[in-house]
Subunit: 277 residues, 2 copies
């Protein structure tokens, strides 16, 4: 069981390793710094109690890259009326969009967007620098996995040809709660990737249904660009997004958005709408 | 005259300020760190000779964001057959794509891409954190400007709906040579933004023709996300890209790509093609 996370500690953040019912505080500001530092991941660290959920921060606070894959579940491609893609569709998220596992999701004023949707995703955490990788190198570069909800403002996503602006609203994307090392998860067994609105399940897909699997995605990306320790790759969302439901559904002030993945854990984020100015 | 840059020094990089015919080395690893540090920009520093062009590095080596605006010159929108946009089209570049002002542009093997194109661009360098800015705040947040060539693999750009993968080939995007403070440039007078292949001018546009001007773009972006010191915004390219020429033209091994903007200076990057594997 190897689980790492990042928590607030005073005015700073600190990486930790889960040790049964407590944690070991490590000598790095976040899991990204831990991976870049080359420090041994099993250093004893300083024992501390398990952090409260509200103290969890995004496991990697300043990745050099957050790459997102679109249309990567067969059932989701179908629900949005697109063919199963020949190549991965890639777009970017900036870390300014992230919030931790229990922080509020910032909904913009209704006059700015009234079409805020959910997308539960399995996220690859890169452990070592990798470029032009073969399958073995790609597998070896994957340190572990975390969970994310790629909360998307559908109106802004569709304003132009490029989706970026609908995917990068400030403090709108929960990520965590922890990073689970790759050896702990059996993707081939089919991890369940879910979104719940309160106690109602609105997305429940399986990684069995992925078009491009994590190793394929790392190979594809590193054909043209390098990946570094702490870089994140969000692998896409299964069916059940709000915009494709009948009738469409969107997030509202006061909703509790729960994102959970087998073996990783869950994010529980209240939605908090900004007052109109 | 206030010009800042980043150069190699031993195994590291260092920010500098141009002082007539020499420079002052400053106490920061790059212009991004200098802006984030809050150090006075006029600290005396250590006098040193002007760096050779090959020692220049990207002025900001690890920006938290590189935001690119597409279709932002009227003449370029026309040449690619698109209407003048109602909203800025935004996509991302990662810093792994950057090279300095005289470094080789890495062309992939022909079997990977044979459609490598040029896009000269004026780049905004953000000086202070800014979110939900009005026009005055947006103007105040612009520290200065630099030049970039958004070298684009057109085949990869068009593989999927999202352009990202054609815009992020490793070590393909020259940027620099320096950052010129905003007070030194009069955008309203129309800066000339040019690409040359050797001694042949292939792009020559004017910032007069911009659809969304730097202050407009900062206001637009900060409606939904924050910008931080050292963040970069590439403002789009004028007409004359290779794919829209008759016949189409693309970069080849041995080409010298020159990118120049009035008042900022020029990038002179040889193109070097990777051998087929």
């Amino acid at each position: 069981m190897t689980r790492f996370g990042t928590m607030s500690l005073g005015n700073a953040t600190r990486a930790f390793r889960v040790e049964g019912d407590h944690i070991a505080l490590l000598d790095a500001g976040d899991v990204g710094e831990l991976l870049r530092s080359g420090l041994p991941l099993d250093e004893p660290g300083t024992p501390a109690p398990m952090p409260a959920p509200q103290d969890l921060r995004p496991p990697v606070t300043r990745p050099s890259k957050v790459v997102c894959v679109g249309l990567n579940y067969r059932d989701h491609a179908r629900e949005v009326g697109k063919p199963v893609p020949e190549y991965p569709t890639l777009f970017a998220k900036y870390p300014s969009a992230f919030v931790g596992a229990a922080e509020p999701i910032h909904l913009p004023a209704l006059s700015v967007s009234d079409r805020v949707d959910w997308e539960a995703e399995l996220v690859v955490v890169v452990g070592t620098r990798v470029f032009q990788a073969d399958a073995d190198e790609a597998a070896a570069a994957i340190f572990g996995y975390t969970a994310m909800n790629d909360v998307s403002m559908r109106d802004w996503q569709r304003r132009t040809e490029e989706w970026l602006q609908g995917k990068n609203f400030e403090r709108s994307t929960p990520i965590g709660p922890v990073v689970v090392s790759a050896d702990e998860l059996d993707l081939d067994a089919g991890l369940r990737v879910e979104t719940l609105l309160g106690d109602r399940v609105v997305q429940s897909g399986s990684t069995d249904d992925l078009v491009f699997r994590p190793v394929d995605i790392v190979r594809y990306i590193t054909q043209f660009m390098s990946l570094e320790p702490g870089d994140l790759i969000a692998t896409g969302t299964p069916a059940g997004v709000g915009v494709s439901r009948t009738p469409s559904e969107f997030l509202d002030d006061g909703d509790l958005l729960i994102t959970r993945i087998t073996g990783i854990g869950e994010l529980r984020n209240p939605c908090l709408r900004e007052a109109s100015s």
